[in-house]
């Protein structure tokens, strides 16, 4: 999952593209969230003290409901309007990756059983978390919960991330939220990370601006996608021995995967070996032209929560505390009222920047420079 090392690479090559902001500064923004990833996150992370997942009386897991309910309310509390996007069918190309994941899960299951027999509680927890998989029912439950909360969701024809990006591109939402750096390849105007992270982790939201990313790398989107494929994506294997540094170098030199492949094949001394039948072209196609529902056909609407419905579902069926659910619903209601706060960004354009630091660096004499340094360190 995700593209190896891309985060660091972006930070090095396009530091301007990343901004960290408090969650509250995103208020009034609509954000498309990769729900399938959230499901995993919640199932893995939302646990009881002893490490087992939350369950209702019947023994069904309710970790995901807890996660969706509270994290959504937290966002709404900050004035953010979330909309969730669920995965459709996985692209055929992802088969290999999915198989790997299945295998990993089976491994983990075996190890978990062993750990259980050996009575190693910590090991057991670790592997149990790895065995997590999202069932169809859990998907449906999450959707049902969102409907009751009045939060819109979209069912993507294919991958949720690409649909999130499409919503951002089409202007339905401000940005796409995903932890997966892959999402950048689908060119959402803005990629947000850590949106659904636990509050207790106190993480700021990292905002990636795709235009600035490309500017920083000085690449076209095609080159960027090619680079990501070299780094390793979900759709195909990589060329052994090519890491982030080499990948950037190769793309800068040859500009496209076709030429890189040719160059490697023509050079008998090349230490790299291109995998047989490497489906990089198909992978690139998936990134550049993913199967999505056009944003213009989607109408996102945030509605009043169905309080009684929520009580029925969350309290009666799934054993949550009635008071908490009602409080949460009240928060949802409150946030919906009174309209959305507009932002100045849309009206005034940034025409430049002023920096009190640079001005001072611009001056020349040496002893002043010394002073300046001490000045800065005193900050």
């Amino acid at each position: 999952m995700g593209i190896r090392g891309l985060n660091r690479l972006v930070a090095e090559n396009a530091p301007k593209a990343i901004r960290s902001n408090e969650m509250k500064s995103f208020f009034g923004r609509k954000i498309a969230i990769d729900a399938s990833m959230c499901l995993y996150q919640f199932l893995i992370a939302v646990r009881q003290q002893d490490g087992s997942s939350l369950t209702n009386d019947a023994g069904h897991t309710t970790s995901h409901l807890m996660g969706f309910f509270y994290r959504t309310i937290r966002m709404v509390g900050y004035g953010i309007k979330p909309c969730y996007v669920f995965d459709g069918k996985p692209p055929v190309m992802k088969g290999g990756e999915l198989e790997k994941r299945l295998k990993r899960r089976q491994d983990a299951e075996e190890k978990a059983t062993k750990a259980k027999e050996a009575g190693e509680a910590q090991e057991l927890q670790k592997f149990q978390r790895r065995t997590v998989r999202v069932t169809r029912e859990q998907n449906e439950e999450a959707k049902h919960l969102l409907r009751l909360m009045g939060i819109p969701y979209v069912e993507a024809p294919c991958e949720a991330e690409s649909q999130c990006a499409e919503l951002a591109k089409a202007g339905n939402v401000y940005g796409a939220a995903s932890e997966d750096m892959d999402t950048l390849c689908y060119q959402p105007t803005v990629l947000l990370r850590n949106v659904t992270a636990a509050e207790s982790r106190k993480l700021k939201i990292d905002q990636y601006d795709i235009k600035e990313v490309l500017k920083g790398f000085d690449m076209t989107i095609e080159e960027f996608v090619d680079m990501c494929i070299l780094l390793g994506c979900d759709y195909c294997e990589t060329i052994r021995g090519v890491g982030p540094v080499t990948a950037t170098k190769l793309i800068r030199k040859y500009k496209s995967l076709e030429k890189i492949v040719d160059a490697i094949k023509q050079d008998p001394k090349s230490k790299f070996k291109v995998p047989d039948n490497w489906p990089y072209k198909e992978a690139r196609e998936l990134f550049l032209h993913p199967e999505v529902k056009p944003g213009s056909e989607i109408n996102l609407k945030w509605e009043e929560p169905d309080v009684e419905g929520l009580v029925q579902f969350m309290v009666k069926e799934n054993g949550f505390s009635e008071q908490r659910i009602r409080d949460g619903a009240a928060k949802l209601k409150k946030a919906l009222k009174g309209g959305t706060q507009g932002r100045l960004d849309g009206f005034f354009k940034v025409s430049g920047s002023v920096s009190s630091g640079k001005k001072r660096t611009a001056s020349d004499s040496k002893d002043k420079k010394k002073k300046r340094k001490t000045g800065r360190s005193r900050r």
């Binding site: 009174g338 706060q341 940034v350 002023v354 009190s356 300046r372 005193r378």
Partner: protein, 260 residues
Amino acid sequence: MLEGKFESASLMKRLVEAIKDSVKLCNFNCSQTKGITLQAIDDSRVLLISLKLDPGCFEGFRCDKNLVLGLDLESLSKVLKQGNNEDYLTLIAEDAPDNLLVVFEDPKKDRISEFSLKLMDIDSDVLSIEDMDHDCSITLPSSDFAKVARDMRTLSESLQILVTKDSVKFMASGPIGTGSVIIKAHTDLKDGKESIKIDLNKSVNVTFGAKYLNDIVKASTLAETVTIKLTNKIPALFEFKLQGGYLRYYLAPKFDEDEE
């Protein structure tokens, strides 16, 4: 070298108190021709502050080289609180400064207090604000506006403003009930500053976050009147005129999704 001397410290004291709750770090731009200007936007990007202090605002003003002073308003406020309102206040900075020197002189007691404030490295975006034609312009005593904004906030987080030909209606509705205040245009012959003037091209119905309005009215100590320029669905302008300058706030309105 920058040297700006104010006849009284009260202007700067009030200014910083007015804006320090909206923005924390800002760059003060200093130049011989323009005096001191400042543009700052709050973290949520809803409220923009634009300040202009012409050289005429000062008793003496000299700025040999354009300077950008990065200041933490919280710290500046602490320092400014050390001086009395009637003191002379002088701001001094070198050409490539690490510090801003703040000097108060008590003219009666011959007391001089001097503070050196560390400067910050701040990068800030500059937004270009074009002159907009507004649908209506209201000028009223700033204290009146402050009272409405503060009172209505107790009812609701939003304040709706309805402007028709000769009246302005402020409305709030919240969990405990609703409230409205209507003010009508009138001319006070004895004291012109008490007059309420409404110029209208088109009736306006806008809603603002009460929190932001409450931040704005903190500036009502700076000017006796405030001019509010409103247009549906675009940012409103609140202007407090200073002697030889202005303090302007641009505030993005709230809007209902469904109206779009």
